[in-house]
């Protein structure tokens, strides 16, 4: 999209080496007009998805859920139950697909791994001193390695917002690069191949402006993110449609510039089927069908799943079942 981006593919990998080059590039990205972006997001939200389209959208959304629990009170029992739900979200209906992944704290990874072993459900772990990211780099990397060693195949890291907002872009960049390397596990750097793929949480609620969201998206992708994710769910403003729109435009433009496709994960605050479908419509009309797959789009959510199941049952049976017919885990 940018003049810089369309010029040459090989140039972009060099950007992270120089603070000046990185800053020039990020500040050269086209601006985002707040009113226009919000208007577009609202307009997409008026799409009416009914009958067969709704059924397809619900199943796709279930497959895209990163079923999440990130509480101080999480216990092995709690996360095992959640993992069981991830495998079979609707015990009453075997045709119901499983979710995309389970997302937990690093210390809970081993218990979830036991349950998910042999299945296609991914195991995501937050890392890098989630949610604030305010810890020395070595500790963040150790956190990451521990999660990978314990069996996580997806790492949800947080960027250093303090550094980003202070304009120290290479610091943010280098941390992402280092975390990506740590995703290879304890022997990272020797074998080289990552064992876990990396989702980079921008915490858009703290970045405040859409211009910042676009810059942070590019920064994360340049540094090697496999996914960019909106939020930790731990600050008041989590995922919104306009923020996700700006991030989708970024991954679209990044692929056009570099040929590499990056996924997007809105997280936090998406609670209803209606919300989820609005996001799918936005994916469909912004980046197209290439992203309409759990490999490229995820929902970070917990209560969303039961609403999806409820609506799914409504579509097949014609009646709403009460909330007690869906498991609380």
């Amino acid at each position: 999209m940018t003049a810089t981006a369309t010029s040459a593919r090989s140039d972009l990998s060099e950007l992270g080496r120089s603070e000046t080059a990185l800053r020039t590039f990020l500040h050269g990205l086209p601006g985002v007009d707040q009113v226009g972006a919000e208007q577009r997001a609202a307009q997409l939200g008026t799409r009416s998805i009914k009958t067969t389209a709704k059924a397809e959208a619900i199943d796709l959304a279930i497959r895209m859920v990163d079923l999440t629990t990130l509480e101080g009170a999480d216990t092995p029992g709690k996360v095992r139950a959640l993992a069981a739900k991830a495998l079979r979200p609707d015990p009453a209906d075997p045709s119901c697909p499983h979710v995309g992944a389970v997302c937990v704290y690093p210390s809970m990874v081993p218990y979830v791994a036991e349950v998910l072993r042999g299945s296609d459900v991914h195991l995501a772990s937050v890392a890098t001193s989630f949610p604030s990211g305010q810890a020395p780099l070595e500790i963040k990397l150790a956190d990451t390695r521990a999660a990978v060693e314990a069996g996580a195949d997806e790492i949800d890291m947080v960027i250093n917002r303090g550094a980003f907002l202070a304009g120290r872009y290479t610091e943010v960049y280098d941390e992402i690069v280092a975390t990506k390397e740590a995703c290879g596990g304890a022997d990272a750097g020797r074998q080289g191949r990552p064992r876990a793929h990396l989702k980079v949480i921008l915490e858009t609620g703290e970045l405040a402006t859409y211009d910042n969201v676009r810059r942070a998206s590019w920064l994360a992708m340049l540094a090697g993110a496999d996914f960019i994710k909106t939020s930790t769910g731990k600050v008041p403003v989590a995922a919104t449609l306009p923020v996700t729109l700006v991030m989708l435009e970024a991954v679209r433009d990044f692929r056009a510039a570099t040929g590499r496709q990056v996924g997007v994960k809105p997280a936090g605050g998406i609670k209803t089927t209606k919300d989820a479908i609005k996001y799918l419509v936005m994916v469909n009309e912004t980046v197209g069908p290439d992203w309409l797959h759990p490999d490229w789009f995820r929902f970070g959510a917990s209560s969303l799943l039961n609403d999806l199941l409820m609506q799914r049952t409504k579509l097949t049976t014609g009646v709403y079942a009460g909330p007690d017919y869906f498991t609380l885990d």
Partner: protein, 476 residues
Amino acid sequence: MFEYAPAPESRSVVDIKASSGLFINGEFVDPADGGSFKSINPASEEVLAEVAEGGAQDVDRAVRAARKAYEKVWGPMPGRDRAKYLFRIARIIQERSRELAVLESLDNGKPIRESRDVDLPLVAAHFFYYAGWADKLPYAGFGANPRPLGVAAQVIPWNFPLLMLAWKIAPALAAGNTVVLKPAETTPLTASLFAEICQQADLPAGVVNIVTGAGETGRALVEHADVDKVAFTGSTDVGRAIARAVAGSRKKLTLELGGKAANIVFDDAPVDQAVEGIVNGIFFNQGHVCCAGSRLLIQESVAEQVLESLKRRMAQLRLGDPLDKNTDIGAINSAAQLSRIRELTTAGAAEGAQQWSPPCELPERGFWFAPTIFTGVTQAHRIAREEIFGPVLSVLTFRTPAEAVEKANNTPYGLSAGIWTEKGSRILWMADRLRAGVVWANTFNKFDPTSPFGGYKESGYGREGGRHGLEAYLNV
């Protein structure tokens, strides 16, 4: 692939009467000579209703009813009481908005998403806004006790049937005038439904009169000797004829005519939003918009990139059944308008511009035209000079801000313009120099009842909307 299943809005919310009469002195009546014409659904060519065609005699009856209501009831009525009726009408419009939106889409061909989310909310907002002025006219800046003009003759176009009705009727009534309104011959149905709403609101008889018909009916109305005010929205040719007809009479005149607006995109524009603005500027309401951004001026250094994004976005536009809630582009309003669009696009291609449309299947019945852009257009091309009034965008390039201003102003029209840049100082510099009644910055086709709207040059004179809109209906 994520295919959206059909999501049609139900037609059953509106009861379309097989025939509709003239609304004169608070009642539906048959025309004196019994003439009628058909109003069709442009998306299917199905006949929706048989509509009364008003002749000179009917116009005379309507003007006399309006005169009587002006002298006996509406003129002497205190402003706060007039406001009561206008507020009531506004509320009924909101309550019946779904019905009105469906009928508007059926008769006009515009997508229900637009009639529901744009037209109807604005219609109600106009009535609410001017209702608020009715008892505050001494504070409008036109003297301590501004007087109404009397009987207003109002002729409106087919592109926004109800919204244009609201733009005309709400300020006229708020100021204390009575009206005779002629809707366009291809879109008379929502005006008849509005007449029912006037009855429902107990509006005194004769305050609003609606005479349906075609050009001859309109001519009889604007030429009627007992009319004090003529307000017209429509083509520049008809506007000229009206200006000639009322010249030398006491009639006060406002005209809102054609446009060929420039939508100007600078190299520092927010590209994704600019593309949305371009799409909204020209494909909103199938381009049947007098202030449409029909000339896109792109700074040459980003032209390729903007066009690439624009084409990708245009491929997402969904053309089809206007009542489907997911339709973006509805039907062209009439066979005559479709042939006008075809004539000009054929000329554009013949003159050497490159025509492009996304892959787009057009329904077999009805009047349709795929969203189209022409690149390689120069100022000399007909498609850069004449108003197409369809979903057709002419793309030109410029090198400097001064050149953008020069090209934007190089048209006989001057209704609107758009500027896309992140630089605030440039927005102000451009807006000072653009000869257009409305200049939008980093947005397009935004309307609000509080904001005056109107043209420079051959786009007409007088303002509608806002405090300024009252002036057209007051003796000042």
